[in-house]
């Protein structure tokens, strides 16, 4: 009788592994258990039946539970890896020797043998969400500096100047100074810079100007820091632009 990759020789009480060319001489107990499983192949053989070892038509002795389980595991282990699930021990019920290797395609939500309960799936999904949240909280996308006002100003000579005003607190002040600066720049005949950025301080007392010229072979830039008493009033004039060397 073929059991997986092994041949069970009923007469010589041998279990022969054909892949490894090894053989196992079964003792009375092991032979009894395997013979019963082979005889009732495909059926669950009750534990009580396997525990009562019969030799020559008479009950010779009784196996205890541990001995029986060990015998089952030994036989199961002797079968090659691809067939060691041919024998299944069902606790408190019995043992079954399947006719062929089981191909299990369990679907996780198949009742009543689904692999995980809904609660367990809930826990896993919760843990995954926590992981995503944890990762998300640690990955900060680069903060781009967003200007409150962006303008392009064309001077009388046709030069295009990029104007950016950063405020973040009072956008109306940013608009006021952007308007004022762009009006004055349109009157300038010679503007040295192609990009002008201005940041109004949170306490409304200072303005940081950043002037840059990138069209030349050598990058030029300059900072101008200005104290302003009243940020709600325009302070940029053509004269002032000349003074700080934005114009001329």
């Amino acid at each position: 009788m073929q059991i997986g990759c092994c041949w069970f020789d009923n007469e010589r009480r041998l279990l022969v592994d054909q892949t490894k060319s090894t053989q196992w001489q079964l003792n009375d107990n092991e032979f009894w258990v395997l013979a019963q499983l082979v005889q009732h192949r495909g059926q669950v053989v009750p534990l009580s039946m396997l525990e009562a070892v019969v030799i020559s038509g008479e009950i010779a002795h009784q196996l205890n539970h541990t001995e029986l389980v060990n015998i089952i595991y030994h036989i199961s282990d002797y079968l090659c890896n691809s067939h060691n699930d041919l024998i299944e021990y069902i606790p408190e019920q019995g043992v079954i020797l399947y006719p062929m290797t089981q191909v299990k395609h369990p679907r996780i939500f198949d009742l009543p043998n689904r692999l995980l309960s809904l609660g367990q799936y809930g826990v896993i999904i919760g843990a995954l969400l926590a992981l995503l949240f944890f990762l998300w909280s640690h990955i900060t996308p680069p903060l781009l500096a967003k200007a409150d006002v962006l303008r392009q100003v064309i001077t009388p000579t046709g030069k295009v100047i990029q104007l950016s005003i950063f405020d973040g607190k009072h956008p109306q002040d940013a608009l006021l100074h952007a308007e004022c600066l762009s009006t004055q720049l349109r009157l300038c005949h010679d503007v040295r810079w192609d990009s002008i950025s201005a940041a109004i301080s949170t306490d409304r007392h200072y303005v940081s100007f950043m002037l840059s010229q990138s069209n030349e072979p050598m990058w030029r830039f300059k900072n101008v820091k200005v104290r302003v008493d009243n940020m709600h009033l325009p302070f940029i004039t053509e004269q002032w632009l000349h003074k700080v060397h934005i114009c001329g």
Binding site: Y73, I139, T140, S208, R227, W240
Partner: protein, 197 residues
């Protein structure tokens, strides 16, 4: 040897059965999650880039209280040297009028936290050295830039500060630095910039 082999088989069998059981699968999934959590934390903690920044920033300062429309004085030369070397940070402010250094302040401290996404450094600073003139222009400017609510800056005053490096040009020669929350901006030369250019 036979006993050892049997034990090994038994152990393998038990492991296989555990892995195939519900409890084993759950344990595997949680182990995997723990591994990812731990890995992400370790990456964030240990795989941080080399923090070495040196910015040199100059500005024309029109810092007097006078209305900028009316002022006719020459601007002051305001300089900021800002350095971050690993966990140490320092800011050196200097205000010069007519080519003579009138006022200065040196702030030193530690990098408390780094947000790599936004390249923001949270610093804990202390004023180590400072010199003001009678009608100081630098002191009110620093109170604004460092977002301090005090009337004056004293030696060894400690305070937190956030500085964000907004952008760096392709040649790594120029960077824009922003002080948070004062919204003060500086355009600076970086350490790699050629001073002769």
């Amino acid at each position: 040897m036979v006993k050892l082999s049997l034990r090994m088989r038994r152990w393998r069998r038990k492991t296989r059965r555990f892995v195939q059981s519900k409890r084993g699968k759950l344990t595997l999934i949680f182990s995997l999650l723990l591994l990812v959590f731990g890995g992400a934390s370790a990456l964030e903690k240990w795989v941080t880039p080399h923090h070495l920044w040196r910015f040199t920033c100059y500005a024309d300062g029109y810092l007097s209280n006078a209305d900028p429309l009316k002022q006719d004085a020459m601007p002051s030369d305001l300089m900021l040297l800002f350095e971050i070397e690993h966990q140490q940070a320092s800011l050196h402010y200097q205000l010069a009028t007519d080519a003579a250094i009138a006022e200065f302040a040196v702030l030193q401290g530690e990098v408390v936290n780094v947000d790599l996404g936004s390249l923001t450094y949270q610093l804990a600073l202390q004023i180590k050295v400072r010199q003001w003139q009678g009608d100081s222009l630098l002191q009110p400017y620093l109170l604004n830039e460092l977002s301090l609510t005090k009337d004056r800056l004293q030696l060894f005053d400690a305070f937190p500060l956030k500085v964000q490096i907004l952008d760096i040009d392709n040649n790594h020669s120029r960077a824009t630095v922003k002080f948070i929350p004062s919204n003060s901006l500086w355009s600076c030369q970086t350490m790699s910039a050629d001073p002769h250019q």
